[in-house]
Every structure is written in C-alpha cells, then in structure tokens.
Symmetry: C2
Subunit: 542 residues, 2 copies
C-alpha cells in the first residue's frame, strides 16, 4: 500500500514537472519551471515534495489518517502569508515573552499580512457603534443609549434591524444575505459606478476568500481546467486552484513598467495553455494589485474586458482594495463600470467582482464580511451558485451589516459625517505617507528596487542576491528569498513574506512587506531594515 | 463539444447507477437504489439528472459558463433544507405581500430549518450584551454603560478584549481562533466531560458547516473514498461528500427502535462498501440526531468508538445539539468523554467533534460561530488541517466570542446568573413541550407514525401514502414525499422538508418538521396540519 501511495506521489510530481519544464531559460516562461531544489519558480506549489521526503513520513503510523493518505490536493496547496516565516515569528514571540532580552528586538512586527488593526489601527467609530447596537437591539430605545452613541448610528441601527425579517438579528438570513442589506450594497455600487446594480446579483460571504473558493469550485472540473492568474499573485488564488484540483496558468506582470498588465502577455500565456490541452476558464485580475500595489488604468481595463469577452473567459475581479489608492494620478474603476461604459450589458461579459470589509480604510479583517457581485451568468448557472451558497446557509450577519455600512457610510449632514471623514481621511493619508517612506527606504538599499504602491497595502521590492547568498540558501535547503526573510526576521523581528509565495520571474527575488505599521514606528523599522540589509550584503558579497 | 459533455454526464450517471443498483428489493439495501423516476432512494443525488434533461439545457448559450461545463460535483450536490419546497415558499411569501388574502393562510411558517430566532425566539441577553460591548470597546469605561449593561457582561467583555492580542477586535486572529477564547472553550469542554481538553485541538469556524467541509476535503481523494453516513442524515453531509467527490456509504437508523444506531448495520454496510473497492475513511454520527431526534446511550456510543478504532475510521461526531435534550431518561455524552472514559487516550481514537453556536437554547444561527475539537491526528496531518484553516485566515471574531460564551455561560454568583438561567430554562422547557405536542399531533394523523424527539430540534414523521397518491406524484414528476410537502405548503403555509432530502428506507416517506414555531402558534399549526392531512388522505384514498 505504501509503495502505491509513494508511486502515486511521484507520478503527480512528475506530471507537474513535465507540464512545467518547458521554456526553461526564458525570462517569462509560459509555465512555471521547477528544476532544482532552490528554485521555487514562479511560486512554489512543490515545496512539500522537497521539504518532506517520503522516507521521513510516518510509516507504521498508529493513526488511520496520515500524510500519505489524505487528499493530495490539500498537500499541494500552499499559503505563504501564514507560512513558514510566520510560524518562526510566532515561536520567536513566545520566546520573547518567556525570555525577555533574548533577541536583538523587543517585539515582532507582523508586516506579512494586511491586518491593519493588529498593528494598532483603530476601528471606524460609526461602524462599531452600529454593530454594537444591532448586536443588542434591546438598548436601542433606552435613554442612556443617546449619551453613548451618535444619533445617526442609532438611526442606522434601527433601519437595519427593520430590514431583517422578524428583526431576527440572530437568525440565518437568505443564503445570499439579508435582502435589505443587499439593496443598500447595490445602491452603493450604483453610486460608485453610475450604472445600475441588482441586489439579486449580490452574494454576501464571510470575507472575500469563500467567494473566491466558490467560483473556483464552480469552474474547475479537473486538472485540465486552467485559471489565468497574475504572477505575482495573492496566494489565495494558487491555494484555491490547488485545493480544487485545477491548473494555474500564470501571466506575468511587468515589473519594469510598474507591474503592468499587458494583453499580449495574457494572449501568449492563454495560447500556450490551450496548446497543452488546458481549458482556460477564467482570468483573475487583482486591482489595486496584491502584492504589487499597481492601480490599472481605465484603458487597460477596457482591453482586459474585451480580451475576456473575445476569449470566453470569466473575469474574476479582486477589487477588495478599491478604497486604497494613494496617488492623485490614479483612480479606482470597477470592472463592472468599465464594462458598462463600453456599452456591454448584463449578458455580454461574465464578471465576478469580489469585495471585502477587511481592507479599505476600515480594515475590519476579523469581522469576515464581504460580497461578490455576479453578472453575466445564465439563470441555470446562477441557480447552482445559489445552491452552493445555501449549503453553507449564510454568511455572518455582523459581517453583512458591516459590508452594507462600508458601501453606504455617513453622508453630509449626518451627525457622524465629519468625524467619520476625519477618521477615514487620516488613515488613508497616513497609509499614503507610510507607503512612500517605505518605498524610498527600500530604494535606498543596495541591490534593491521597489515599485511605487499606488494602491492596496503592500510593497514588493526586488532584491538582487549574490551568488554567495544563493549558495548559502541552497545549503540551508531553502529558497534564496526565504533565506533572506528568515535572516531579516531573526535580526529585526520584522516579518515579511518571501516572493516565492506569490510567484516571481525565475531568477528574481522579492518579498512582500505591508505598509501597515503605525507611522511612529516606521523610522525605527527603516533603520533596522537598513542595518540588517547592509550586514547581509557584506556577509554574502561575492 | 456538446456531445462529449453529454457523454461524460451519461458515463457519470451510469457509473453511479451501477454502483447503486444492487440489492434492489431489500429493505435496508447496502447501497442506495435508484430505479425509477419517482424513487429518489434513500436520498436523491440524481434528481438533477432527472429534472433537467439534457435536451432542455441551453445549447447555444451566449455565456461562457453553462450548466454543461461547470464542475459536475456542484451539479450533483443537493441541499434540501433550502431546496425546491423552500423556493416555492419564498414565492408564496412574495405573493402574500403583493396580494394579501390570495392564499388560505396569512403567513408562511418556516419549519424547514433549525433557525429559532427567525420564528420569534429572543436571544440570550448576557450573550448579546457581551457581543455589543466587544464590538465597541470604546464604551466599556463610560458611566452610561453601567446603566445599560449588566456588571458581569462588562467584566466578561473586558476579559475578552484583553485576551485578544493588541485588543484588536477587528484583526484577523490566529487561524484556529483567538488563543484566549480557545482556552475558555477547552475549559468548558473539561467541565462538561471531566477529561482534559487542549486549546490547540480547537479550530474555530464560521458555524459547524465549514468544519465539516474541511474534514471532507482532507479525507476524500476520489470517488473511491467513502464516508459512512446515517440515513436519514442532515443533508450537509451528502452535499459536502458530493462537492468533494467522495462516496456516501449509507447506514440505516432503525425507525422501529426509535432511530437506533446498530453496530451490525454499520458493519454490514462497511463490508459491502469495501467489497466494492470503496476505501471507507470515516463514520459520521449525529447525536442528538438530525433529522431524527434520538439521543444515543453511552453504551451504544462505546460500541461506536470501538467500531471506529477497530476499523480504522475517523469518527466525525456532529454534537451541535448537545444542549438540546428534552427527556429526563436521556443525557448527552460527548464522544470524547465516552472515549476517554473507556481508557482511550489522545492517540488511540481519531475523533472530530463539531459544535456550533447556532443550536442549543441560544440558537444564534446568524452569528456563524462554531468549532471543531480535533484529536488523534498525527502532527503532520494536523499541520495540513492548520494550513487549510489558514487559507481562509480565520473565522469571524463575534462568532468566536459567542462560542466562548456558550462554553462558559454565567456562573452562580454572577449578576446575570439568575436571569440567564431563567431565559435558558424557559426556552428549553418550551421546546420540550412543543416537541411533545407536535409528536402527539402527528401520531394522531391517519397513516402517520412519529418517533419522539428526545433531542435536537426536529420531528421526522413517516407518512404511509396510498398508491393513488404515489401515482399522482409520479404524474407530477416528483417524489411522493415532495408531492405531499408541496401540497401541505400550498394549503397551510407550513414549510417542511421532504424525507428524500435526508434519505429514507426505500418505499417509505417522511418529512422533517422543526419544533421551533412559538408555542402560542402551535395549536393553529396542529389544526391546519390535521385538516390538510385529512383532506389529502380522502382525495387519494385507493
């Protein structure tokens, strides 16, 4: 039995390897190449096979479930944002607590994940007032409540409670979310885009991740179904494609032109995939970009829409950073707006837009609210999407309420309007300053170049590593960027994610660093990073 | 292309059919038989193939995604609790609103789903106080707060906020859930069971459903992997097994002995599945039972634990109704407690226990809180479970907080203790009365027998239908139980779920009805049901 399993693993691995080993020395290979222990190109779904050799797996396990007999798709899936470096960081944090002074830093700074409130960002008062009141509507008409909550929060909470059938804030809702809240969201989309939105197109979800999984589950039938994904990409996509057994068809963002998304590259990769028998079903576009921070121009978006229409692809638009744009020359445009402004109607383009309450200026990650707006599907397929939603009953109501608030914040004249605008403005302005300071700091480092974060919450600097550093990484049986990031963590307490977790052009090395540490901490971070980097470069100078 | 897809469907269907057509005329067939249009035995994963003939599918669809080219596992999946009858009910509700008086009832009574607050049950005050305070901790030290909230709710909210790293109630937590809240839950399990629980074994989830999906995803590699499921079962299990491409191996609960779970039946079905080349990976046990309401005896549970141990099966214990026991002669025992009391330690039995905040006396369905306690897995498999959790970042924090409250409610001496105990006691006592009243009413109907609801939230009466009724259903191209339930809905506004959605012994017909309508409405429901049933029986008398 064990032999059979091991054989199966080898076949799986060999198959991937065969599919991937074309165009080996090309700068933008049509498929990820994976040729040596240290080169996890362009991302590393095979790390498991390297890092856990079969011989070290449990053989006569007392357990009925072993790494050899679980779903190999689970084994294959990787999620670097909470991967090896983060586990190391958690261990360091425990160690710091147990043995203060044992490391050259006093705290771990988690720059690995877009989790603003974990780094000290305060929640938006109005949002939390409404959430508290809808959680405990019994206090809505108490006199003390007037003294504790703003008048418009009380009014909004009443409205929301009335929108929920039977005022039952603790009931499962409609599987797509409370109808009244979807009405509010649709109205918010209309106001944003200037084009109509239909509340029946909204599926509310626990953050954007389950929505992405649902779409992958719907579209992927076998490993011959491919999804075009940007490289670098947010690893939710590679993880979800792996879990659902599909094929990630990479397209490369052009680092030299500020992570440009170019149609000829899309076309080239699509054709290469087709010629290998892959049915490409969908194109993932992340705008503003994660981990890359670029904001697409409207013209570029029009070309993308036309590409999807011509090629019969579903456009999966990750638009969770729509509020996070930091440069005056760029503006967020939703793909739905772009598509409608091109004259395409309901049935012309198949488009799913993902939104989340975790990002924006509010960063309410822990609330797990979000939605997808689903357009251009036939009635029979929509029925299937609805069925998938209904199996999980509904998303959490607090998250649903928050998603409605995000799409319909206080308006001019509301009691909270000014304080809300001040909170929002301060956060966004500060994020823009932090992005610029960190970008400048990275660009000052030897061998490092860093594109601007026009939007989103990340910088993705490239580090040119010496042969000596690459060799040292190889000896440590890890990828060079992973080697660098672990060294950085051990020296400074700063947690960043190696580029190999997102994918990168073979032979280049990057890391993703959030712009989220509080502003007063940025100078210290910069000096720690700089000091570490100089020492590292000196140590591994060829 | 269309031809290939259609062929593929036919192959899929034929394969299922071949696997299922053994033991045709047996009362408890080892595999579901499916032989005619009207017989969806024991549940109906194939209804799609009957109800949507290929010829009626869109052919020259303008959409790139069609019912012919989506994941066939999605097509195969069914979830009757929100299925056809519920869609009909929603349409009737809209119609009632638009045209009052157009139907012989004024309201739709949703007895299809365990959703207590949607039918008027009030939330537990203490739980909602703590949720509101942790949503808006800024008011925790305001003087007005003392007047609005109980002292122990304020104290508990402080404790919880302090347990969250950085007091960041809006941050993503550890992927398993906030450590401090897991500590509380583990302590609650210890108090319940009298055996230790480890907070590192707790994975907090958005309700129990995602936890079940995670386990299915982990265990199911292909259609040759089987999961032993009770028939009747809660259709989350059949849906999840279908979505993950596994094989549901049914075992029949014995209706005559009050839905008894018998080891010889388990063994027979396991052996039959093995002989067909199915690798049976796990046994699902729902205790208290859904839709069947039985509460297992400790002796029976010991035999089940030994069966799993001997056969190398993962025991997937759905224990979400652990607070819902209505008869003095029965008591809930967790499988973990039973297993530990037999002397089995951490590594002897592989057991996953699912818990949810949606059920119990509190019924907080909309909060989507829950957890699984995962024991008896190797470190390397646990790592994979952790990785799957981390891809979705974390479950919602309000749900996490609520799960901690459910496992650690107010104690003697706390300010809220007496009012909490009164709220809890009233709800549970009322549920017990409602269960008994409805059970008695069903048993008075001609041709209906109904086992006692010892626990959970449902009754699952059997209706003996005449040949004439069965023929009428056949003519209406639907299953006889579906036919009955639709008639019932149209006549009374009462929504129940046909037994075919849960599975039943071939040739028997049931429906599931919750015990949740508010007590004052029960007499009217009983008289409407009785009147409908008498007319139905008269109309279809052979």
């Amino acid at each position: 039995m064990r032999r059979i399993v091991a054989d199966r693993f080898r076949r799986l691995f060999n198959r991937s390897f065969l599919l991937h080993r074309h165009h080996h020395n090309h700068n933008h290979p049509p498929f990820p190449a994976s040729s040596s222990l240290t080169s996890h190109y362009p991302f590393s779904p095979y790390r498991f096979f390297f890092s856990t050799p079969f011989s070290s797996m449990a053989s006569d396990s007392p357990f009925p479930v072993t790494a050899q007999n679980i779903n190999p798709k689970v084994l294959k899936c990787e999620y670097a944002v909470r991967g090896e470096v983060v586990t190391l960081a958690q261990n360091l944090q425990k160690d710091l607590l147990a043995n203060p002074g044992s490391h050259p830093f006093d705290e771990i700074l988690y720059c690995n994940i877009g989790n603003p409130q974990s780094l000290g960002q305060s929640p938006i008062t109005f949002f939390r007032e409404v959430l508290a009141l809808t959680d405990h509507p019994a206090i809505l008409d108490k006199s003390e409540t007037q003294g504790l909550f703003s008048a418009d929060a009380i009014e909004r909470a009443w409205q929301i409670v009335e929108q929920i059938p039977g005022r039952a804030t603790g009931a499962y809702s409609h599987s797509q979310g409370v109808k009244g809240l979807r009405d509010t969201i649709a109205a918010g989309i209309e106001e944003r885009d200037g084009f109509p939105a239909n509340p029946d197109d909204i599926f509310m979800t626990d953050g954007a991740s389950p929505a992405v999984h649902n779409m992958m589950q719907l579209l992927i039938r076998s490993e011959n179904d491919g999804i075009l994904c940007p490289i670098p990409q947010y690893p939710l996509y590679s993880a979800s494609i792996a879990l659902h057994g599909g094929f990630l068809v990479p397209y490369y963002l052009d680092e030299a032109s500020g992570w440009g998304l170019e149609i000829p590259e899309l076309k080239k990769q699509l054709d290469a995939a087709k010629s290998k028998g892959i049915n490409v079903r969908a194109l993932v576009v992340i705008n503003p970009g994660n981990p890359t921070g670029q904001v697409l121009s409207e013209e570029n978006q029009r070309h993308i829409v036309d590409f999807c229409k011509q090629e019969g692809l579903v456009l999966l638009a990750d638009e969770v950073y729509q509020e996070n744009v930091y440069v005056p020359e760029k503006k967020f445009h939703s793909f739905k707006k772009v598509s409608r402004s091109m004259g395409y109607g309901e049935n012309d383009v198949t488009l799913v837009s993902f939104q989340s309450v975790s990002k924006g200026y509010h960063g309410e990650c822990g609330k797990r609210g979000g939605y997808m707006e689903v357009t251009g599907f036939s009635a029979e397929v929509r029925e299937q999407i609805y069925k998938m939603a209904s199996v999980n009953l509904c998303s959490n109501i607090s998250g649903q309420i928050l998603a409605s608030l995000v799409m319909s914040p206080p308006k001019v004249g509301d009691e909270s309007y000014e304080s809300f605008m001040a909170e929002k403005g301060n956060i966004l302005a500060s994020l823009a300053r932090r992005a610029k300071t960190l970008e400048d700091a990275f660009n000052k480092l030897e061998g490092v170049t860093c594109n601007k974060a026009e939007g989103a919450m990340y910088l993705f600097p490239q580090i040119r590593l010496s042969q000596k550093a690459i060799k040292a990484a190889e000896e440590a049986k890890t990828a060079p960027d992973n080697f660098y990031c672990k060294r950085l963590l051990n020296a400074t307490g700063v947690v960043v994610v190696p580029g190999s977790g997102f994918g990168q052009v073979p032979g280049t090395w990057h890391f993703r660093c959030t712009i989220l540490p509080q502003e007063e901490k940025i100078p210290a971070i910069v000096s720690r990073l700089t000091e570490f980097h100089e020492k590292f470069m000196d140590e591994f100078r060829d």
